[in-house]
Amino acid sequence: MEQGTPKRSYTRHFIIVSVLVIVVAAAAALGLQALPKFPRASTQAIVIDQMFDLHLAVIGFLFALVMVFMLYSLFVFRRQKGDERDGDHFEGHTKLEIAWTVLPLIIVLIFGVLGAQTLRQVTAAQPDEMVVEVTAFSFGWQFAYPELGVSEATALNLPVGRPVLFKMKSLAQDVIHDFYVPEFRVKQDLVPGVPTQLRVTPDKVGQYKVRCNELCGTGHTTMLADVNVVNQADFDAWVAEQRAAVSPERLAALGQELHTSQGCIACHNISGDPGLPGPTWKGIFGHEVELVDGSTVLIDEAYIRQSILEPNSQVVAGFQPIMPLTYGDVLSDRQIQALIEYIKTLE
């Protein structure tokens, strides 16, 4: 071991390295931002991409910091041929260690808070949400639009700009699947026995794909469904087309049958006479009615559906909240739609 290896001065090295780190960090950050971006098509994607860009900036800086320091050391502090001396003896620097423990701690806490805030943004309920029920099965997808009376759609059609709440399930005997549209930047597993949900507001007309993102067996690779984000007029046309596939007359006939078979008739008559525990169905569709809380509501498809699924939420004035809560579980969407079509015919 060499006696008294003279300590070198590092000031010059630190200045050079600092400049290099800044230059390389800037270049890395710019380079990373300039990478080709995958197309995006939802308002949630904007939030998520911003969060990712923030990550990229920090990644660029830390990459520059570590690599520049390392490569600079490797070049400048390399051993000369035949030089058997050791390096300079310093064992550590407590203040420096505290600094590079505390500073990263603060940064990750900031990122944690930002992460929580953005999570709140992308999961927040939006006004005027359209509910789409997603059912995954090995190996395909089905979509239902309960508010619109559309069920069993095999492609996901969405009007641009309208917030969507996906209510999702995998069949009880099935396996876990995952709903992922890369252009929307969000995903959610669909788990047998565990209902899940996801919110997306598509903001760009285009054609995309739902891609199952949880390994589900043989057909996983090809478990795709078309996504068509269209303008409102095209969407309305599509809905009409879907509904025409099931004629309102036939639905109304089914509704008449359900009125009896499901026991609705016990409390709701179709003659308009008073005296039963529930309001009559005759001539109510399209009219306003007063509720127990004094407000008024238009009796439309959404109101009837709501009254079947959550009977106590909007009780008509003069009646008690006594309707069984189980109809939402008992009746299928198609059956509810049939009841609505039946009520429409009772002018």
């Binding site: 944690g112 005997q173 396996v175 949880e214």
Partner: protein
């Protein structure tokens, strides 16, 4: 016939006998009850006999362990026969090489056994990767059927994890006693048992591919794994036995580290790798049960109708038609409670190797030794609090996502301490570029990719996009290569002259490095790129429309270059350097204990008692010494610990 007396051969024979016994037992029980021997009607092949196959596999492992001789001493004790401890070949007069194929109690032999098995298993896992990367090189390629593809990626994942655990076992078993000045581990018999249980474990994993395979990925989530082919049962059991090895091995490392250090070696004078191995052992001891448990629960759900993870309504059982009442997400909590800390099991020893080698080749003290040591412990502890970040989109409670995001991001802090301390160690050194140093530096650069791509996965919102895409594949491979593969290769080159007494071929070592490092960068960045452009994880092919064919081709080519470079290393270390020049006792001018004794090391490493009198990494401090050797005395009997 010498070959028939090898423990390995006898173990395989014992395993076969056990398998037949186990299978017959179940069939006999069924016939006794008047049931048909086959369990599932209308199903042919191994799946028709699933319970018999499972019990047979358990008996296979027991038969192997008895046959190989790992339980002989304990069985003798049970009937009152004493078996005094002795070093050297078990059967007197047999040649040295036979020790490596039989039960041997020397930690140096066991370390080599771990290492060579690990490299063999690495070769199997790597070959699988090469095959399915061919299919992924271009879009719309379908020469591997989807089910076979799923089995291959699942096998690649778990076989590589097995290989990493074997490599970790190799490093900690070989190095910890040497580094603390002990002649063996605390429990040498347990040590041998812990190694050998890996062999039936690894064999079961490989057999699983040929009895129907399993299409679940290495994570084995139910309900998919509850419905997968029978191969999944052998996968579960293989992992179970490898996990048993982890638990038993970690007990040994902890006790050895705490009780067998040389005089004068306080905890903060231990070589830094020992800290890493110690932190690793704590994780292994406390977490491994959870993966064994979760897999066992699915195993019993399949054959005993215990519906832990079954939400109800599964009707493929012939008997016990309805189980139900379970929750699939519960499995994920149990599984990740091990499998997240497990990644720190994979990387902490490797990071310890980096910290160990940098001071030697930079000729400087390890910068902030105590901080580096404590950062390993901090990673080990924080690692237990972050498991649910694998489940951000699983359907678990929405609220849970925020606290697990916070705890996950915290891991960046101790990891950062390591990076900065490495930089501090290099700064102002006189750096020498031998192959082990190159691999340590390559490890830092590769682990940096893995580390920096982590926080976007730990942040819930960005993870909602990146989760289960190829971005994760890129991130994970970077952490595994930077945290394990590169440091493991560095360790192989570095201790090769100590273990064999010969010096490896430096030019070929550098060729290995310069092939592997750039190729890995290309592969890793390519994986991350395609993941951000619509490439999902675990798909057998992808559409032309995604426009990622070029990047995928580069990933595949880079993968083959890495594979080739590892072959260069195998050629170098196991063929060409066998008769190379003698290396001398201390070619790296290291201060470590093990470098102060001859190479190759004698059977009893430390004939004289090493006494630690200074700091481990005081390079550049005139007159400083780490260790002195006392004259051998009767008071110090260099025995292995009693068991």
């Amino acid at each position: 016939m010498r070959i028939l007396r090898l423990g390995l051969v006898q173990g395989l024979f014992g395993g076969l006998v056990g398998w037949v016994m186990g299978f017959s037992l179940v069939v006999a029980m069924r016939l006794l009850l008047g049931l048909p021997a086959a369990w599932k009607t209308g199903v042919s092949g191994p799946a028709a006999y699933e319970p018999a196959m499972v019990v047979a596999a358990i008996f296979f492992a027991i038969g192997f362990m008895v046959g190989v001789g790992s339980m002989t001493d304990w069985l003798k004790w049970a009937v009152g026969i004493k078996t005094p401890f002795h070093h050297g070949a078990r059967i007197p007069g047999s040649p040295e090489w036979t020790r490596y194929f039989s039960v041997d109690y020397s930690h140096k032999v066991i370390g080599v056994q771990y290492g060579v098995t690990g490299i063999l298993v690495l070769g199997v896992g790597g070959t699988l990767a090469m095959l399915f990367r061919l299919q992924l090189a271009q879009p719309e390629m379908k020469f591997i059927a989807a089910d076979v593809f799923n089995t291959m990626i699942s096998a690649h994942g778990m076989i590589m994890i097995g290989s990493i655990l074997l490599g970790v076992g190799a490093m900690s078993n070989y190095l910890v006693p040497l580094m603390i000045g002990a002649n063996d581990m605390a429990f040498p018999r347990l040590n041998a048992f812990a190694y050998w249980i890996n062999v039936p474990g690894a064999l079961l994993l490989m057999i699983a591919m040929f009895i129907g395979g399993w299409n679940t990925g290495w994570t084995g989530y139910p309900p998919l794994s509850a419905q997968a082919p029978v191969g999944v049962q052998y996968f579960f059991l293989g992992v179970f036995f490898i996990g048993l090895s982890s638990i038993l091995g970690s007990v040994n490392i902890i006790v050895t580290t705490l009780t067998m250090r040389s005089p004068g070696m306080s905890l903060f004078r231990m070589p830094i790798f020992v800290w890493a191995a110690f932190a690793t052992a704590i994780i292994q001891l406390t977490a491994t049960q959870l993966i064994g448990l979760s897999f066992l629960m699915v195993l019993t759900q399949r054959i005993l109708g215990m519906g832990f993870f079954d939400p109800g309504g599964v009707v493929w059982y012939e008997v016990d038609k309805w189980v139900g009442g379970g929750n699939p997400i519960l499995f994920q909590h149990l599984f990740w409670f091990y499998s997240h800390p497990a990644v720190y099991v994979f990387i902490l020893p490797g990071l310890g190797i980096i910290s160990e080698l940098l001071p030697v080749f930079a000729r400087k003290p390890l910068f902030g030794y105590k901080w580096v040591a404590m950062s390993s412990m901090a990673i080990a502890l924080v690692g237990f609090l972050v498991w649910a970040h694998h489940m951000f989109v699983s359907g678990m409670s929405n609220f849970l996502r925020a606290p697990f995001m916070m705890s996950t991001l915290l891991v960046a802090v101790p990891t950062g301490v390591k990076f900065f301390s490495w930089l501090g160690t290099l700064w102002g050194g006189r750096i020498e570029y031998k192959t082990p140093m190159l691999f340590s530096l390559g490890a830092i650069s590769v682990f940096l990719i893995g580390g920096l791509t982590g926080p976007p996965l730990g942040t819930v919102t960005t993870d909602m996009n990146l989760h289960d895409t190829y971005y994760v594949v890129g991130h994970f491979h970077a952490t595994m290569f930077g945290g394990f593969v590169f440091p493991f290769f560095a360790a192989l080159y570095y201790w090769y002259p100590k273990a064999t007494g010969r010096m490896y071929n430096e030019a070929l070592g550098k060729l290995h490095f310069w092939l592997m490092t750039p190729a890995f960068w290309v592969m890793s960045l390519g994986q991350i790129f395609v993941g951000m452009h619509g490439m999902r994880r675990r798909i057998a092919t992808y559409e032309v429309g995604l426009d990622i064919g070029t990047a995928q081709m580069m990933v595949t080519i880079a993968g083959f270059v890495i594979f080739l470079s590892v072959l260069v290393m195998v050629l170098n270390l196991f063929v060409l350097s066998w008769r190379a020049r003698h290396a001398g006792a201390n070619p790296w001018r290291s201060r470590g204990l093990e470098w102060q004794i001859p190479s190759p090391m004698p059977e009893m490493s430390y004939a004289s008692l090493p006494v630690v009198v200074g700091e481990p990494y005081d390079y550049g401090k005139p007159g400083s010494t780490y260790v002195q050797f006392a004259a051998p005395t009767l008071a110090h009997a260099p025995l292995a610990g009693g068991d």
